[in-house]
Symmetry: D2
Subunit: 308 residues, 4 copies
């Protein structure tokens, strides 16, 4: 377990899984090399795969492994930290995916809680993560807190204080929530032992001002400069500029998100704003209609996020 | 699509998946024939497999198929209606399980909603179930409403009124809730077109008095006479006796359920109260300790649910 | 404390507070004698005043006292049990209203929980009700469980088991919920020591089949025969007829409730279906528009609930 | 309506209502002059009275008026902005309190939503606030968003965008929540027309980094320097120092809040940390025991928040 990983400081892009526009939304792995190069060219130093944006929970185990293997190859030169999401499926599959992630050399693992027999207490969650940890005993593990999707809303400050060292590989959490007092409590838990990745783009300036030092933010895909600039401005004490960049980012997101649910609307924005075509979403995630996409494009153009 | 299935009237036992007491909780399929015979001997005429009690969402696709195939064989003589739960996993797996269920001759299919990209509206849920329906176009489909586990709580009266005929095979729902005005609305929706299985043991007398005609109730496994008697008493207008039987059943459940979560505590009760040994639960569902089991046994004995 | 009150068996009508159709919705107390006579003529033997239907929480303390005094006069001959709701306002006012209710000879008192500094535990609620009990030490007290309005959702089975005898006058609860397993647990708590009034019209047949013996139901105002018939049918074991009456009642309520929130739509129905004109609701409870009222009238006429 | 009030920039202390330690917790108004002087001496320029910390919802209308009159006198020289909370009681009383607040020269009014017949939509809330606005047509009005107490959780960005100019005196909201993306949306609504007071102490640094310019924070009572310093540090771009001050403040609050609910624990802290003795809380708000108070004192001393 590499100690320097335990406190990760930096920004990670949660990448989309590219699908072909065919009936089964088959994997389009051929574009991954250019996707990787695009991120590197834009200053990104880490990726999360098969997460929420990556539609991991609507893919089969075999598909998730395949995607992970291609990305592992692309990250093998160390330019991108590779975090693999292994959760959201039956526990035997989670364990298999965790083992596989370690086998292919993932730098870290992210894991949702059980989605049906949900943990009722922190102890339930700890027991679950201990099993995941045992399946990949040499890879840092992060817990994925995203209550609006998972329906699991244990308090992250209490959880991390309770964990202490009981899950050998647990290195922190992805905190996908805008409830920043809870995020703050997670940051401070156990003498700041754990890394807490902010998972919400719209409050980055606020979270970093409170002490966050890392984030996994969707817009690092299609508007990668904003998140990086916000972080730098806060570090430099340029509050006004941080606010302006945050405001620009949030204005773009307001346009994007009003056209559909988070994943399909931001995936469409990726196609509109970046040179990478990640294709449609897979059922049951409803892809935007052509009309909705056109409208989003027009509005992004009028705000100069798209330039002709 | 057999029309007589569309309005199912009767009781279905949601069977446990037997596991061996080994580290991986491997499948113990050898006891299924005696399990089937036990249910038939006790008047049960239908089963649900791989559901909540059946721990379907902590099994792999292959395991679920295997269990389904064995039960299909055991039900092939028509003494037991075979309902197969296919949901709670990534959609490609759900579709494969639905197709498989139809292939092996399941009498009906039950399906949870997507657990991570949850349906926000009835329309989202309808689109999802249409895909499941297409994968098994000749088998009656039931939607599994169990908000305390799934986190999806669309109003079932509104949902069924909205469905009308838009999901060709949809024949009704399993209503695992004690919110009986909503259950009533589901019963009456679309001119009583749909079957609404009550999924809660503790309010059977009340639900049947309101007009329910079918139920999928956990205690039909280990205390099969109670549910059947309650139903008969209500039909016969013996309210006092129905109340007494319901009271006995609820007293047993109060003892059982206080020792753990619903699935592990009732699975333990199955082992204590019936001749069938279904073994422990699988992680992350926490099996009761030996001490908890002993305490449950003592209390059930003192109330004469177990006789020496 | 009269022991026979402690277990109340029967039906109570939660009466409306009549307002004039003027800007301040001033009290229209003159119609109360005919309202009382109308209820008596229709077989009603008890009333609840200043409750939810009675708009108690949008009236001043003085107005609530005035209304209580008039009703106390009208109930003084013993034909109607008088239950006075005293809660939903600052605690000093609650205590004053409780004292006043006892002073004017109310047969029982009903009380909401504190609505802002909500009880977080059963112990918090017990401490609150002890204060109310001390203010009216000779009058049976009922706790008002109505989570959809109060936002307080403590489990009523646990609460009553915990109370035991710690609140001297506590005689039970009004259970305004359709979660019937919880209602059942309340019925059985403390060896059935407490009266549990069902507070939901739409599941009466089911609740009585489970053992409920008392109810406070809005429709006893404008459709008083239905609730009484449902109760009698269940007692007589006439399940089919109980279901038919329940179905008729629910059909009427479906029409009524779709035109607005519960209080204003049922208050309008009172004006349409009974000879008593209780007038409009008071702000912030939005009275139905004339058009909505007309539409409701037409639909009730077409279903023969209103005959010309 | 004074325009300069509409965009309030600064910090407001939500003052406690001092009670005597007698059975009825009678008002102890005699200490208010020294309370006012203490706040002024500590740099505070505005107060909120009869709010949550001020226990307004457990006082009678007469008591609230009396408290308001004394404070109005103390604020009459313009050193303290006087905001009067008028909500959380029956609407007739709210309107009387609003009228009274304007009459005594309050600088602004704060108002909770109706707590029992809760607004279901933004339109419901707008209608309610229009009535309050009419009762005090010359005084800026703020809506009190505090979902954890009120149970009303309308999205404040949507609400303010919908309001536009439909409530003549509405000048903004008190946003007592740590969900900072929603707070951000409120800030930006209607071209930043409205003042959004942050109502949460623990995320001040983050909120101000995102653009908040005003706050009503409990700890301005007993630790007034912290909030002021955090605000100044963010303005000056001293992020590290802002974080240190926020961390100190949150450490104190962690000690304070673990001994009871928010109001009684912070009221006790006021007694321990300031020279002003605001006494106990009033029922049903449970005052800390002497032992809990002693423990809090010891821990605050060990962290040097109390110096001997």
């Amino acid at each position: 377990l590499k100690e320097e990983i335990v406190k990760y400081e930096g920004l990670i892009a949660p990448v989309y899984t590219p699908f072909n526009n065919d009936p089964t939304r088959s994997l389009n792995l051929e574009i991954l090399p250019s996707y990787a190069q695009y991120l590197i060219d834009n200053g990104i130093t880490g990726i999360l795969i098969n997460g929420t944006a990556g539609e991991g929970t609507v893919m089969t185990v075999e598909e998730r492994k395949l995607v992970a293997e291609v990305w592992a190859q692309l990250c093998s030169q160390g330019q991108l930290h590779l975090m693999v999401h292994v959760g959201g499926v039956p526990l035997p599959d989670v364990l298999e995916l965790a083992q596989h992630a370690e086998h292919i050399g993932a730098n870290s693992i992210l894991c949702l809680p059980e989605l049906f027999h949900k943990p009722a207490t922190c102890d339930d969650l700890i027991r679950y993560l201990q099993l995941v940890s045992q399946a990949a005993p040499n890879t840092p593990l992060f817990y994925y807190h995203i209550p609006s999707y998972s329906g699991v809303n244990l308090h992250m400050g209490e959880f991390l204080n309770k964990v202490q060292g009981s899950i050998p590989t647990l290195s922190g959490i992805k905190f996908t929530s805008t409830v920043l007092d809870e995020g703050y409590a997670a940051l401070k838990a156990c003498n700041e032992r754990f890394t807490v990745f902010l998972g919400s783009d719209t409050v980055m300036a606020g979270a970093y001002a409170l002490g966050f030092e890392s984030a996994i933010a969707t817009t690092l895909n299609m508007l990668p400069q904003f998140g990086q600039q916000i972080v730098q401005c806060i570090k430099d004490g340029n509050i006004k500029e941080a606010q302006e960049k945050q405001n620009d980012l949030n204005s773009a997101l307001e346009i994007i998100a009003k056209h559909g649910a988070w994943v399909p609307s931001t995936k469409m924005a990726m196609n509109l704003l970046s040179p990478i075509d990640v294709g449609p979403t897979r059922e049951p995630i409803k892809t935007l209609t052509a009309e909705e996409a056109k409208q989003m494009e027009n509005e992004l153009t009028s705000l100069s996020f798209i330039t002709s």
